[in-house]
Subunit: 506 residues, 2 copies
């Protein structure tokens, strides 16, 4: 028996193993396709300072064919890049150190691939960059075996209205009836985490509109340098290869790494036993290994700077939570930047209580990562682990309670458990930050609940007292001969002053 | 701000996103590397009818460097293919329809990549195919940016002893102390599912040997054709492209698909409204879409044949379970072949009870897929879902109980939730088969427990009766004047016959 060896192209690999990218069945595929398109739409707007306006349309056609169309008002894709961006797996512009929804260069291609393999239809892309005199309309298929785009059609139109953005239209086979609820939930949660976006959704059965509740965009993330703690031998080898001759180790460190200045570089070299003035090109593989290990172990680096991140901020997060969940009480915490393995991250946590939040045995969890709502695989997510860890009775919450927990992890590298981006791994640093944030929110909730309790108690006391005022006034009047009205007024004043004191005392 | 677009090679992609392939931290990486090597070793032996002899050695070196070495007595890798097999992502011989542990063409490369990026050291491969006069020893690195192997060293030795097999040696940075328990558990479970293998494991702290408890190999799987239910437009298009001119649709169907003969092909064409005699090359994209949809929907196909599968069988499974878990009672069920989306699969379930199985609140679950033990992410696995569904009290099991459940899913396409192969998705067909198998095992356990209960009861009765034999014999002897000894013998006979009757009656 002779073995036949083959090399698969990346397209071929994901065509065969589409379920690992979330395209595991006709329901999930529709959800995943919508997701990928919406996430690209949001990246294409807010990363460039544009307030997002995203239109999602889903139509049902004969024989279980579903038409998905997503349009944004973003920066568009340059015509030269369109074929590769939509028809080539692992091709993209987001392979930089910066927080973004898309990172794998895979999502939209998977949607295109899935459409192609279920209906054979190309994706239709209509796009114009800002100030472009033309609008381009492409029909693209993927040559799966070679991982190359195939352009089926190209139309060039005059851009008379100065439109810019991207509109993507796909036709795939899927189960819309079952996917609908997930998709609507996804959109609702997206609206929660992007309160500065206007999102409209239309399908045969319903339509939803989420108007922006704020027109303040969080500051866009900048592109950063790698942090010395996150280095590996392969990375060092490549960086050294690209160095020019004559560069010293100290210079190399202070030029290419985040937060490393000449002084830190010097100090590190001393600590690690490397000559800061040695030529960096002279490091052999063994030296590189040692250098990488020392860089990972050194305790004197500055923390990664969070310029690459773009958390929502407490104010926007509360606004998003309030506008979608409509609770009686909401609070949010944005934790200070932290890092794991050289990747900076920021955790945000919010709690919503009462109002329209439905009571449940466990807190309802809304998970987000880089502003992506995560709907599947909650059971293995680090956020779930943290929520489970907390004894809510400590915070005066008696389950079942109308309690929702919102978690948001921003990072240049969210530790997702799979390319389908549905669950975050339990990296200890992330877990710790989540817990700190959640406990802070929970403490605020306890204060709120205590205040409510106190108010209730005082109210009860007042009601009881007022009930007897007439009776007591009459009785005292009978004994002392004072006027009943006067006594009643005095007693009411007494109650009022007591109430005022109680309000202060506690 | 101008975007810079990049195309990543598959190596580069997985280098950057190694955690999606299971290499998420220094502990997990060691475990994952051992796993990948062991799985390749087992595939290289049993798939070719060789009884596996696998030697695993782990050594600790300075600065957290871990040396992993796995050797098998398999068919070896031809010298021409070694560089690609170990140094090129998505390159492999297992991209065929046949049950195998490896399917992604990714695992061993990830181990090589991880070694390279943590220590910069190449992988060392020593291999000889059967009857090869030479043994080849390669040192291979991966050119990550181009996804190509780099040969660092090649030695050719005379194969004087007629050795064949493969020995792979890696040096990576990892946390052996923490990984050790997982690795040992992994090996223990591997031994459970491969009772025909001898596996030895040595590390500085311990050594384990699992001698084969059977020298019967389950029949090796054959390479199959795709099932018509699992077809998609892309696949049809490619198959049609490769057809020769003049082939008819009926011929096309009966040649290229599993279980489709000329009659089934005719019947299908009639049902679907296609002319069986049309030339297959004349089908347009729209026709292919319709054809694919009809093929998926048609109810008249034969089930996928399980020739591509290699379940362990009830006897071997029980043997494996007994030799590792040492229970008082063990039973196993191999379910008949089934299929989902055109992929054949077979589910096997075993239950072990009592003996050395430790009592626990929930049944201890041992999950396997294509003979791979799955240790992580149990919470989202379909097997866990099924085990949770079952009310054990129905089967006379009172938790906490010394109960272990073993599940094994064999398929040409196990619906793994990620390329790290740790959890199986809850495909309804798989779930159903698991439940049927588990309930059958549970019923057998109930019978066993009932029998135990009855035996206990009878034993108790016997003990009570025997206690009074002397007394009663004496009393009757006093009244009737018969000899005590005779009476005692008669009474004992009476008890014995009653016992025999009870044994039959119930």
């Amino acid at each position: 028996m002779r073995e036949r060896y083959e090399q698969l192209s990346p397209s071929e690999f994901f065509y065969r193993n589409r379920e690992v990218a979330g395209f595991s069945n006709p329901t999930r595929a529709v959800y995943q396709a919508v997701r990928e398109l919406v996430e690209n739409a949001l990246d294409a707007t807010e990363m460039y300072g544009l307030l997002p306006d995203v239109k999602i349309e889903v139509g049902e056609e004969a024989d279980g064919r579903v038409r998905i169309c997503v349009e944004d008002n973003g920066v568009g894709v340059s015509a030269l890049e369109v074929p590769n961006v939509f028809g080539r797996v692992f091709y993209g512009s987001k392979y930089v150190l910066r927080q973004a929804r898309g990172v794998f260069g895979l999502g939209v291609k998977m949607a295109v691939l899935y459409a192609q393999l279920t209906t054979g239809q190309p994706v239709r892309i209509r796009t114009a960059t800002r100030k472009s005199p033309f609008i381009y309309e492409f029909d693209v298929l993927i040559d799966v075996e070679r991982n190359l785009p195939v352009i089926r059609n190209l139309r060039v139109l005059r851009n008379v209205d100065g439109w810019h953005g991207t509109r993507v239209e796909l036709l795939l086979r899927g189960n819309w009836q079952q996917a609908r609820r997930r998709v609507e939930e996804y959109i609702r949660r997206t609206a929660m985490i992007t309160p500065y976006a206007t999102i409209t959704f239309r399908c045969p059965q319903s339509s939803l509109t989420f108007e922006r509740s704020s027109s303040k965009l969080p500051p866009a993330p900048a592109v950063g340098k790698p942090h010395p703690k996150g280095v590996d031998v392969e990375m060092l080898r490549r960086m050294v290869e690209r160095c020019r001759r004559g560069a010293t180790l100290a210079k190399f460190l202070s030029t290419h790494f985040d937060g490393v200045g000449p002084i830190t570089a010097q100090k590190f070299c001393e600590w690690a036993g490397f000559d800061p003035n040695m030529e960096v090109k002279e490091l052999r593989v063994e030296d590189l290994e040692e250098l990488a290990a020392k860089m990972q172990a050194y305790g004197g680096w500055r923390r990664p700077r969070p310029i690459t991140l773009s958390p929502l901020g407490e104010e926007l997060l509360i606004r998003g939570v309030k506008s979608v969940l409509k609770p009686e009480f909401a609070t949010a915490v944005t934790r200070p930047p932290s890092s794991y393995a050289g990747h900076p991250f920021i955790v945000e946590v919010a709690i919503a209580y009462g109002g329209e939040v439905p009571p449940a045995e466990e807190p309802i969890l809304y998970r987000f990562a880089n502003r992506i709502p995560l709907l599947y695989d909650e059971g293995v997510d680090v956020a779930k682990k943290v929520v489970r860890k907390i004894d809510w009775s400590v915070y005066k919450v008696k389950m079942p309670a109308p309690l929702a927990v919102v978690t948001h992890i921003c990072s240049t590298k969210v530790p997702f458990k799979g390319v389908g981006k549905e669950a975050v791994a339990d990296v200890p640093e992330v877990e710790r930050e989540l817990e700190m944030g959640l406990r802070e929110c929970a403490r605020r909730l306890r204060r709120h609940l205590s205040r409510l309790e106190r108010m209730m108690e005082v109210k009860r006391w007042e009601v009881t007292m007022r009930k007897y005022v007439d009776e007591v006034a009459r009785a005292i009047g009978y004994v002392t001969g004072d006027g009943e009205d006067l006594l009643r007024r005095r007693l009411l004043e007494l109650i009022k002053s007591r109430l005022a004191r109680r309000g202060v005392a506690r």
